[in-house]
């Protein structure tokens, strides 16, 4: 479904990603694993268009993403949870989750919100709190919820378990595994696979921006 | 030597607030007069081409940017552009700053407009001249005019921009009032910032204090805004407003000018110019060149500077055998000189022969029979009636009760 072919990304003088390739079949859970600075975040940003490719291509169901404006990519079913969480501090939790539905055509915000609450009921009590008041881990939850509202085809979760207490991490991996379906693929970046070994169909390793080895988890 | 060109640096406001009211009209006047002088088309006694036969080349410089910039630009004019003389400066600060530099560079320089008496009262210069009277006459003349019209004044108020010009004008006016209307008291004195643009509060304050006369040295955009904002609020009905330097807002405001406002022009300029062949020519030439707009103080003052220069150049050349005169020769020729200008006779009597005096006119707006606003009640005061004698400082002269004033 998603095909990454020989992409290169330069950040400043640094080649953060070099000739990296990856295939994500429909309905799969992929782990993108590498040490700090290996380039995981950069790959995700490249898929979202936030990092510019200096070579190679990213195609989603045959469509070359490079031709799609950044702000039109979510409409293709791409849900992104950034490493920094990226919540809007002045908006409430609920508004944060709804944000993508406000700008996309033909999407039923209410229904999506209900779906997210069904999957993660712990968000409901926080619904009216402003995002800036949440602790780091709570923000992760909300960011995941927000990614779910649009991520109907491909979820990009950058370090979903990082900084999350074990109890919550467990809960998160439950949530993520409950999302498993025919049509939805998930890429999770992580520096370790402890929380998620059971979840993953495939692990892609990245080191210094380049592929190392791919294989089943 | 007749093939020589005579290079004149001309400095006046081409941008900023003073451009529209003073600078650009003066620059226009300069361009026009230089052209006419070069062509020898100015009436006698100025009907010889150029300056002593030399074609005039004008270098125009913007006066904006403050005294520091002007000192530098002055040096550039003299040292880089090698102009023969400099004519310029509306701002008092610019005049004060440039004068010592002119002296240092030994370059003949005419201050054509600025009003502060400090220049020749605080220092002596060899190369610096001012071909227009100081601001003293504006305010002394205005009080005399009020008296001549028989205006009854028990209280008066002032509104002036908050810089030297405004403060000096108010000081002179108050001093003159003290002599001529000794009973009158000050009801309010307001100093809005230069370029404030909004006068609602000031107008309220003036109206609440209910003065018989409101004196103002506002000019340009500030003055126009003040008039526009005061008119519907009845300010001009409530008090006799006396504006010391307002002639230049008459052409743009036209019939939006309120009735019964006393207008000064800092000289016998424009509407108040004396009848003479020279003035008739000047008025017509300017109107023809610039959309039939009446020349006001800016172009007149520029003209009297240029004509004074021409007189001095030609006088000096008569004495030096017809070569291009040096700054020293020009200075000698200019000292104590007098010459005819469209605004009447200019006499370099004060400041050891470096400071001009001239006559001044005032008028009051009124409606003519077609309902148009025109200037009526025009009166002139002789130069020696409104200017101190050569040996007196202005403010001392006023406070002493105008000794030696000659008002016929």
């Amino acid at each position: 479904m998603l095909t990454i072919r020989d992409i290169n990304v330069k950040i400043g003088q640094v080649e953060a990603v070099r000739n990296f390739s990856m295939d994500v079949p429909a309905g799969s859970m992929i782990g993108l694993v590498g040490r700090n600075g290996a380039g995981k975040t950069t790959v995700m940003r490249a898929i979202m268009g936030l990092a510019r490719l200096s070579g190679g291509s990213v195609t989603l169901n045959g469509e070359n993403l490079e031709k799609v404006d950044i702000h039109r990519r979510p409409a293709l079913g791409l849900g992104y949870m950034p490493e920094t969480r990226g919540l809007i501090p002045d908006l409430t939790v609920e508004e944060n989750i709804l944000l993508p539905t406000w700008v996309m055509r033909g999407i039923d915000g209410k229904a999506r919100l209900k779906l997210v609450y069904d999957i993660m009921p712990e968000l409901m009590p926080m619904a009216d709190r402003k995002a800036l008041l949440l602790s780091g881990g709570q923000q992760k939850l909300v960011a995941l919820g927000r990614a779910l509202t649009v991520g109907t085809r491909l979820l990009l979760l950058d370090e979903p378990f990082e900084g999350v207490a074990p109890a919550l991490a467990q809960r998160l991996s439950e949530v993520i595994s409950s999302l498993r379906s025919e049509s939805l693929s998930t890429i999770m970046s992580m520096s370790e696979t402890t929380h998620s070994e059971s979840l993953l169909d495939q692990v892609w390793r990245i080191e210094r921006g380049a592929n190392v080895a791919a294989g089943a988890a | 030597a007749a093939k020589d060109t005579f290079k004149v640096g001309i400095v006046t406001f081409l941008s900023g607030q003073a451009a529209q009211s003073f600078g650009v009209p003066a620059a226009n006047g300069a361009k026009l007069l230089v052209k006419k002088l070069n062509a020898g088309e100015v009436p006698a006694p100025y009907n010889t081409p150029g300056m002593g036969g030399m074609q005039i080349e004008a270098v125009l410089i913007d006066e904006a940017g403050g005294a520091t910039v002007q000192v530098q630009e002055y040096r550039n004019l003299v040292q880089r552009e090698k102009v023969d003389v400099v004519i310029g400066y509306v701002g008092s600060g610019d005049c004060l700053a440039v004068a010592p530099v002119a002296e240092e560079l030994k370059t003949f320089t005419i201050l054509y407009d600025c009003g502060t008496p400090r220049i020749f009262e605080d220092a002596d210069y060899q190369y610096v001249f001012r071909t227009a009277a100081t601001a003293t006459q504006d305010n002394v003349g205005l009080v005399r005019y009020l008296k001549a019209l028989g205006v009854d004044i028990k209280t008066y108020a002032g509104i002036h921009q908050d810089y030297a010009w405004g403060h000096d004008s108010w000081v002179d006016f108050k001093a003159a009032m003290g002599r001529i209307y000794p009973e009158a008291t000050v009801a309010a004195e307001l100093f809005p910032a230069f370029g404030a643009g909004q006068y609602g509060t000031e107008i309220s304050a003036l109206m609440q204090r209910r003065a018989d006369v409101i004196h103002s040295s506002l000019w340009g955009g500030d003055l126009q805004s003040f008039i526009l904002q005061g008119l519907p609020r009845g300010l001009f009905r409530q008090a006799q407003v006396a504006l010391s330097t307002a002639d230049h807002v008459l052409p743009p405001l036209g019939n939006n000018m309120p009735e019964g406002v006393i207008i000064g022009a800092r000289g016998s300029y424009g509407y108040m110019a004396p009848e003479s062949a020279l003035n008739t020519w000047w008025d017509a030439a300017y109107r023809e060149a610039y959309d039939n707009v009446v020349p006001v103080q800016g172009p007149y003052r520029m003209a009297q500077a240029l004509l004074g220069l021409k007189s001095a150049v030609e006088k000096a050349m008569k004495e030096n055998g017809g070569v291009k005169p040096s700054s020293e020769q020009l200075s000698a020729a200019m000292t104590g000189l007098s010459w005819e200008s469209p605004a009447g006779l200019i006499e370099m009597t004060n400041g050891k022969g470096h400071q001009a005096i001239q006559s001044i006119g005032f008028g009051r707006t009124q409606k003519d029979k077609d309902g148009n606003i025109v200037l009526g009640d025009i009166l002139h005061f002789d130069a020696r009636c409104v200017n101190p004698p050569a040996d007196k400082k202005s403010i001392e002269w006023i406070e002493a009760g105008f000794p030696g004033a000659d008002c016929d």
């Binding site: - | 081409l14 530098q72 040096r75 040292q79 880089r80 600060g93 400090r118």
Partner: protein, 321 residues
């Protein structure tokens, strides 16, 4: 060689070269360069502030302070010796800054800029009111002397003094910027919280830069007041401060010499466009500014002054990417 000695040696050499240049250039250019040094000194102080993440939009106050105090001293006490005047102006600028600093040193960014501007505007307003020192018209400053000699009318003497002062100031600033405190100041620009948690006071770091900048501004004000022969409250007006900022930003904070160059270039651009396009020089200045920002965003000084290299670690290899 000791880096401090080396810096001062270079400065002395530079001063000699520029004094030599002064012997051959026309008088108007000599004057323009002198004035550029005056502005450049103020901008150099701003560079110091900028290195610490502070932008003052009110350096006019200290510039004006230096010019007024030294100018009044020349007028009232008859002291015209440049060494005395420059010292007095420098101290006056620094002292005013020291008085103001408790008030401003805890601010950052735009607020700092605007607060300093407001203070300079209050000074401007007050000075325009004091008729005894000329109100808004200001006053003239007598011709300077040096050790009893009158400085030549050509302006060369003053220019030479300006060059020496500029070289000295640049050297002092270079040494200071490269010092421990200079490094801490730059660190404060990047992350104040970190500096506080390392145990340093951002407040006192800022205060020091501010007083240094004030002193340099006072120096510049004195030099320009004397060179122009005239001072007025416009020295403290916000557009004057704005011009200094303009020069400092164009110079960039990598270099301590660039500001003098950008001051000169700005003066020349303004002067020539003011003469040849008197009706549109503002536009040309605006376009010039845009061009510099677009093509040299880190300032002209970034062309030659590279951020200090860590020679000791050059040998260590970058990660092989």
């Amino acid at each position: 060689m000791n880096p401090i000695l080396r810096t001062f040696g270079l400065a002395a050499l530079g001063a000699l070269v520029f004094i030599a240049i002064g012997l051959v250039v026309p008088a108007w250019f000599l004057f323009t360069m002198t004035k550029a040094v005056g502005f450049g000194l103020v901008a150099l102080g701003l560079v110091g502030l900028l290195r610490g993440g502070l932008l003052s939009f009110g350096q006019g106050l200290y510039y004006c302070g230096g010019a007024y105090v030294s100018g009044l001293m020349a007028n009232w006490a008859g002291v015209t010796d440049m060494i005395v005047l420059l010292s007095v102006g420098c101290i006056a600028g620094g002292l005013i800054a020291a008085l103001v600093s408790p008030l401003v040193a805890r601010y950052r960014g735009i607020f700092f800029a605007m607060l300093t501007m407001a203070l300079s505007m209050v000074a401007y307003g007050v000075l325009t009111k004091i008729a005894a020192i000329g109100g808004s018209d200001g006053f003239n400053v007598p011709k300077p002397t040096l050790l009893g000699y009158h400085l030549a009318e050509t302006g060369f003497g003053l220019y030479a003094i300006a060059v020496v002062i500029a070289a000295l100031a640049a050297a002092v600033c270079r040494v200071h910027f490269d010092s421990g405190l200079g490094l801490i100041a730059s660190a404060a620009r990047e992350n104040e919280l970190r500096i506080e948690y390392l145990g340093a006071s951002v407040f006192s770091v800022s205060t020091r830069s501010f007083i240094l900048a004030g002193g340099l501004a006072g120096l510049g004000g004195t030099l320009n007041g004397v060179a122009l022969g005239h001072v007025d409250p416009f020295f403290s007006y916000w557009t004057t401060s704005g011009e200094m900022v303009f020069i400092a930003i164009l110079g960039g904070y990598a270099s301590v010499t660039a500001v003098f160059g950008t001051a000169l270039v700005t003066e020349l651009v303004r002067s020539f466009s003011g003469q040849y396009f008197p009706e549109s020089w503002q536009m040309l200045l605006g376009i010039f500014l845009l061009l510099v920002i677009v093509f040299l965003p880190r300032g002209v000084g970034s062309m030659w002054a590279k951020p200090a290299k860590n020679h000791a670690i050059r040998s260590i290899k970058e990660p092989a990417t």
